[in-house]
């Protein structure tokens, strides 16, 4: 039984409850009064419309539209600009809820498969936690090659000028490919994170059981 079917089972059709227990800051969703200031404040929403802006996502959650919400690419459009948070008349931590929704959809495997930001987000975290510090070169390459080698080369070529510029300016070090910056106590970091994951898993499970 997949993580998804498990929770779906548990919460039946009380999607709001599911979100409150499983999503970071999810218990704020019920506080929205549908003024729409978040939707209007979101930069990417204005550049190219989301399927569902934050306030609409909150309404969908209350309306129990589980499938639509969790498979949506909308929350992956968040740039973490925090405009919504500072303007929300209900002081709802919208940015964090967007991240939380994305994380949850990702966790239970419902997030859109080839969503670029989803991919990059995961890549970034792995990259950063692998050595304790980000390796920008590997990070970029990792992103270019997400759709396979050929596409990767294409992407690489497309970004060539950018990369070259950085290299010339001494802000992209080709040698980073081999080793590069890292923390000394990587072992400790990994152990620490493993523990953190475990604690969080237990807590969420407890909520689900409760």
């Amino acid at each position: 039984m997949s993580a998804n079917t498990a929770v779906a089972e548990k919460y039946r059709n009380n999607f709001l409850k599911e979100i409150e227990e499983q999503v970071e800051m999810g218990d704020w969703v019920k506080m929205c009064m549908q003024c729409g200031v978040c939707s209007g404040s979101c930069p990417t929403n204005f550049q190219s419309a989301w399927d569902h802006p934050p306030q609409e996502l909150f309404m969908m959650i209350r309306a129990g539209k589980r499938e639509e919400v969790l498979t949506s690419s909308s929350m992956w459009n968040c740039t973490s600009c925090y405009n919504c948070i500072v303007r929300c008349p209900r002081k709802i931590p919208i940015t964090h809820i967007m991240h939380g929704l994305a994380e949850y959809a990702h966790r239970i495997g419902m997030a859109p498969k080839m969503q670029a930001t989803r991919f990059f987000s995961g890549l970034f975290w792995k990259n950063a936690t692998h050595t304790g510090r980000v390796n920008e070169l590997k990070l970029s390459l990792g992103l270019y090659f997400k759709d396979g080698f050929v596409q990767g080369v294409k992407n690489g070529m497309a970004m060539q000028s950018v990369a070259l510029g950085l290299v010339k300016a001494g802000r992209l070090n080709v040698l980073e490919l081999f080793g590069g910056h890292k923390c000394k106590d990587q072992k400790g970091i990994h152990a620490m994170l493993a523990k953190a994951y475990e604690i969080e898993r237990v807590r969420k499970a407890a909520k689900m059981a409760g």
Partner: protein, 303 residues
Amino acid sequence: MATKEYAFYPGCSSQKGASASNYLTSVEAMCKTLDVKLTEIPDWNCCGASIGYAEAGELPRHVLNARNFALSEQHMPGKEIVATCAACWLGARETRERLTHSETLMADTREALKEAGLTINEMPNIRHMVEVLIEDLGFDEMKKHVVRPLEGVKIAGYVGCQTNRPFGVDGESFENPQYLDKMVEMVGAEPIPDYEQKVTCCGGALAFSEPEKAQAQIKDIVESAYDHGAEMIVTPCPLCQANVEIYQGQVNKRYGTKFDIPVMYYSQLMVVAYGGDAKAAGLNGQVIKARRLEEIAAKPVKR
């Protein structure tokens, strides 16, 4: 004995050969002049940044930042932590807020830290370099050291998001913060107070994952700077700097524009105004060269 001492959290992008290495260069020169001592937190790690969210979850993200707090406490007890990177500052500060307000989260964090043989006893203050300059030193102190005013240079103060929201610099407004303009004035250059894109988002991590969305915003930010007759843009944030500078070429391709405007860090302006040379100011680190600043940096200092 330096006037001010802090535990320093440079962040990944400031490392040698990384995208904001020139930022660090200029900050070091700037602090030397201002007699501010920064001691790097030994073995510091990445803050997780906001983009890490998909894998990070809640606790691991905070634990990651907590490790830096613990290390700082261990080696420099009682010192405030200063970050130069907006994302590092925000990530660390968010963790600080959450841990202070949730005992469970604090307990869980301590439990996880144990695995790395670390612990936290007291929460450190997390400061952005800009806060240190404005609040701990003040504009008068900063101005004192100006020996080479950047006369006649029009500079658009681009504050961006993460140094501004949700925490921001004390006493500044989210929609129209003034401190960058004041710094521009302080170094003798000409600010653009009605630069209306000063808090527009640069696209953040979407610049990598979904360039078309980010670049649409970058276009607005740069275009408006041109419209107001700016010769360069100044920012306090590495990601803003990178996004706004390095993608101008791509924006030009996408929109048929002819953008070619340097994007600087406040610290670079200060170093030049303080009499430092191009190297000290990290001007060689510009992808779009700041010719005007290089000229000024080449001029003799008037004493």
